[in-house]
Amino acid sequence: MATHETVLEHEVNDQQESWEGGTPPFKASYGKLMMWYFLLSDAFTFAGFLIAYGSLRFSSPTWPVPDFVFKTFPFMGTKELPLIFVTVMSFLLIISSVTMVRAVQEGHRENRKGVVFWMLLTIVGGLGFLSCQAWEWTNLIGTEHMTVLTNPFGTHTEAGVYLNEDGTESSETFLPGKPYLLHKAGGGHGADAGHGEDAGHGEEAAHDNDGGHADEAHGTEPGDYKGYVVDEKGFILNKYKVTEGLDKGMIKTQEYGPKAFGALFFFITGFHGFHVFSGVIFLLIIMLNAASGVYTKRKNGYEMVEKIGLYWHFVDLVWVFVFLVFYLL
């Protein structure tokens, strides 16, 4: 008998759902509360990434200058538009956050059409952001040859003057803090030919900034030349003469930027982009559910829309900080 009773009790509990025994904790539904705690744990993951980024950046003597690294804009060629493209990306996320708030509001009014309409706009915003990020990555990898382990964005720590191809001093001088982009030998399009016409834009822009003696045809094989060095990866490291400080008069060679930058950039923006991507998938599923009338039948004020709304705002929130540390500071 005892076992039979236990089974009965268990079934009753299952039907009632323990969350509904009296007042719910914090006056919130189970789903919403757990979404908050999931977001909290996700915040810890992102904080781990930001800690790695911050401590490595603080420990490096130089760091790639964001308004130099992120100054390209689609279809604008060599024009320098520092940070404008990422500002557009930020606005896409902010606007999609606002349309999400509207979808939740329409959900409270049990307005099915409103929910679907505003969620659709949110999805469009999310896809727009992902497309922008895809372009940004393509430009960085394909045109500027930045990879997880290679960072061609360096910064000068001394004042100096670049050398010409024949080893004589050129008229191109620079001061400490001047950023430069190393580029690959072979006409500016990289040793691995086959990029499209537009592949050269970023590099041409770079020539203005670092002297650009390297696109002359001769001496593209790895080796030590009079005016520059070509390394095994095919990058051209210009030589320069130091004009101030302790090492005055010495001939030095350009170096790569801090190695960790590539990995940090691709992993942090990639992890955020993955959140946006999965958010878009969930938005799509919930929008289709809403359109089919599932939530109208549940009569719980479109709570599912509220939950995905919390997630979507969190993605926007994380972008506020990614935008801050990678692009603004």
């Binding site: 904790p25 914090f26 006056k27 919130a28 509360l33 908050w36 705690y37 977001l39 909290l40 915040a43 810890f44 904080a47 930001l50 800690i51 911050g54 401590s55 490595l56 950046r57 603080f58 420990s59 490096s60 003597p61 200058v65 308004d67 520092p82 940070l83 500002t87 930020s90 606005f91 902010i94 606007i95 956050s97 606002v98 999400m100 708030v101 509207r102 509001q105 409270h108 009014r109 803090g177 709304g309 919390l310 705002h313 969190f314 926007d316 929130l317 506020v320 900080f321 935008f323 801050l324 692009y327 603004l328 500071l329």
Partner: protein
């Protein structure tokens, strides 16, 4: 959102959009000033760089506060819920700042090692530092 009418809450949302957009534009503008794009002389003053950094961080924190409190409705949740989420986050902010400090200390060590590596020993002079004259040891060695 139950406290205000539907029309009022819609208005509030669009006000939020304008606010977030304006703050973002302001941040980008301040950042570009700090990098010397709008006013080239700004690069010559160190304090401008620090002020710009501080102002941008404060504006970003304001944006984060606005998104959490208005868009995510934290303002309307029970206080206990808000505390269980916000207190761990506050500890997290402390951890982030602490690790920045740590990174700065690594840099100090690296600079120190680099400086010591570049030091040149002057061979012509007699040994300096802790080495003492041999005669001083003599009595103890004999004894």
């Amino acid at each position: 959102m139950a406290h205000v009418s539907y029309e009022e809450s819609i208005k509030k949302v669009y006000k939020g959009l304008v606010l977030l957009g304006a703050v973002t534009l302001l941040e980008v503008f301040i950042s570009l000033v700090g990098k010397g794009h709008i006013w080239p002389e700004a690069l010559e003053y160190r304090w401008i760089l620090y002020t710009v950094g501080l102002v941008i961080i404060i504006l970003s924190l304001y944006k984060a506060y606005f998104i959490v409190y208005e868009f995510m409705h934290m303002r309307y949740e029970a206080k206990g819920l808000a505390m269980t989420v916000l207190l761990p986050t506050a500890l997290l902010v402390w951890a982030i700042i602490a690790f920045f400090q740590e990174g700065d200390s690594w840099k100090g060590r690296r600079d120190q090692i680099k400086e010591k590596n570049e030091m040149k020993v002057d061979e012509s002079q007699s040994p300096q530092g802790m080495l003492l004259d041999e005669t001083i040891y003599q009595p103890r060695l004999n004894g």
